[in-house]
Assembly symmetry: C2
Homo-oligomer: 212 residues x 2
DNA sequence: GACAAAATGGACCAATCTGTCTTGATCTTT
DNA sequence: AAAGATCAAGACAGATTGGTCCATTTTGTC
C-alpha cells in the first residue's frame, strides 16, 4: 500500500526526491528504497533488511556497493540533496524578472514542495535532528547542502546591490528553514506564504534604505 | 566526561531542560537520564540499557514506572516541554513594556537558549523529524507544545490590535522555527538576531497599516 | 562459446534490542 | 520490631540489528 508513493512521483514535475526516479541496476534500486525508507521512517529506525526487501536485492549486493549502513546514509543524503537542488534551482531559473522576483519565487517553489503528498520535510534537517551529536559526516553533508543554498542566495543579494550580502542570505535561510519545519509539522503548505510576506517586507526595507 | 552537562545547568537561569534538574527518586533519575540521552543522541538510537546505566537504576525499576519505551519517550517529551515553557514564558513575563516589546524579546530569550553549550535544538522538532510517519503520539505532543506557543503569540497579537491575529502567530512561528533550526545547524546563536530584525519589520508594517 | 566480473539467495554470526522475571537488599510506615 | 513497598542486580527470552561468507547464477566481453 505504501508502495504507491514511489510510483506516484516519477515523470511529474515534482521529482525533487531521489526516491522518485526510474530504477535500473541494483545500486539504484537500493538507493531508491533506502531514500524512501530513511526519509519517511527515519535513519536509525530503518533496518538493512527492510531496505533489502523493498529493493528486492540481496544483502551481499548492498555490501558490494556500500561499505556500511553509514556509507549508505551518506550516499542517500548526497543523492537526495543533488536531486532536490536540481529541481529547486531549475524551477527558480525559469523565473523571469529581477533578483527580487527570484528571491520571492523561492517560496512559491517551496509551497509546491510542501504540497506534494510525499513531502516529509528536509532530509538534512531531519538527519541532523536525528544524529546531531556524533555523526559528523551527516552534519557536514547538511552544511554542504546549506552552503549551496547560501551561495545562490548571496548571488541574488549581490544582484540586488545589498549592503550586507551575508545577512540577506542568513535572513532568507531563517525564513526557508522556518517554512519547511512549520509546513512539515502542520502539513499546511500555506506557511510558505507567511514566509514570503516576511521576505517581501525585508526586501522592501532593504531597497528603501539603499536608495534614501 | 559527558556527565558534565547534567551538573552544569541546575540552579542557573538556564534550566530550560528537564535533564538539568536536581534528582530525587529513581523515577526522576530515569527521566533526567532519558531526557539527556534522547535529546542528545536521538530517540531510536538510545537503548534502554544506556538509560539505565546513566540513571544508575535497575531495569525492573524502569518498567515499574513506565510501561514501555514509547511511554518513556512520551513522558520525557511532556516534561521537557513543560520545563521549557515555564522557563521561556517566565523569561518573557519579566519583560516590561508593550506587547511589541514582548514579541521582540522572544528572540532575545531564544538567543540565550541557543547560546547554551548544551543546546540541542527543539526536542519536538527533533522528535517529529525522527518519527514523522507512524508515531502519532509524538506528533500530537509536538502539536500540543506548538499550540501553547501559538496561544501566547495570539494573545500578544490581540494586545497589538492586529487585524489577523492568527496570521501574526503563524508568521512568528515561522521565524521561531527557522531561528531554532538555523542555530542548531550552524551552532550560531546570532540567527536569533536575524529573526528579530524580520519580526521588527513585520510588526512595523502591521501597525503602519493599522493606522493609515 | 569461454571466461571473468558482478549479482544473487540465504545461511550464519555476534551483538544488541525491548521486555520479563527472580532474588535479596534497603527503606518507610504502622 | 513487623510488614510492605521500593529498590538494585542481573539472568533470561525472543526478536532484530548490522555485517560476513559462500555457493550459485547471471551478465558482459573477447
Amino acid at each position: 500500500m505504501e508502495d504507491g508513493l514511489q510510483n506516484l512521483c516519477p515523470n511529474t514535475s515534482h521529482n525533487w526526491s531521489f526516491a522518485a526516479r526510474p530504477s535500473k541496476n541494483a545500486r539504484e534500486r537500493l538507493m531508491r528504497a533506502a531514500s524512501y525508507l530513511f526519509c519517511n521512517h527515519g535513519f536509525a529506525a530503518t533496518g538493512i533488511d527492510t531496505i533489502l526487501a523493498r529493493a528486492e536485492t540481496a544483502k551481499a549486493t548492498l555490501y558490494n556497493h556500500f561499505a556500511s549502513k553509514e556509507e549508505l546514509i551518506a550516499a542517500v543524503l548526497q543523492a537526495e540533496g543533488e536531486t532536490w537542488r536540481e529541481w529547486f534551482f531549475g524551477r527558480l531559473a525559469q523565473v523571469e524578472g529581477s533578483a527580487r522576483d527570484r528571491l520571492l519565487a523561492v517560496f512559491d517553489v517551496l509551497q509546491d514542495w510542501f504540497a506534494d503528498p510525499g513531502f516529509y520535510g528536509c532530509p538534512f534537517i531531519n538527519a541532523v535532528a536525528e544524529f546531531d551529536t556524533g555523526n559528523d559526516a551527516v552534519r557536514r553533508a547538511a552544511a554542504l547542502h546549506k552552503e549551496h543554498l547560501i551561495t545562490w542566495l548571496k548571488a541574488q543579494a549581490i544582484e540586488l546591490q545589498a549592503k550586507d550580502v551575508a545577512e540577506v542570505a542568513r535572513s532568507f535561510a531563517v525564513l526557508i528553514d522556518g517554512a519547511i519545519v512549520a509546513a512539515q509539522h502542520s502539513r499546511d503548505p500555506e506557511f510558505a506564504r507567511n514566509a514570503q510576506v516576511l521576505a517581501a517586507l525585508y526586501l522592501d526595507n532593504l531597497t528603501a534604505q539603499a536608495r534614501p
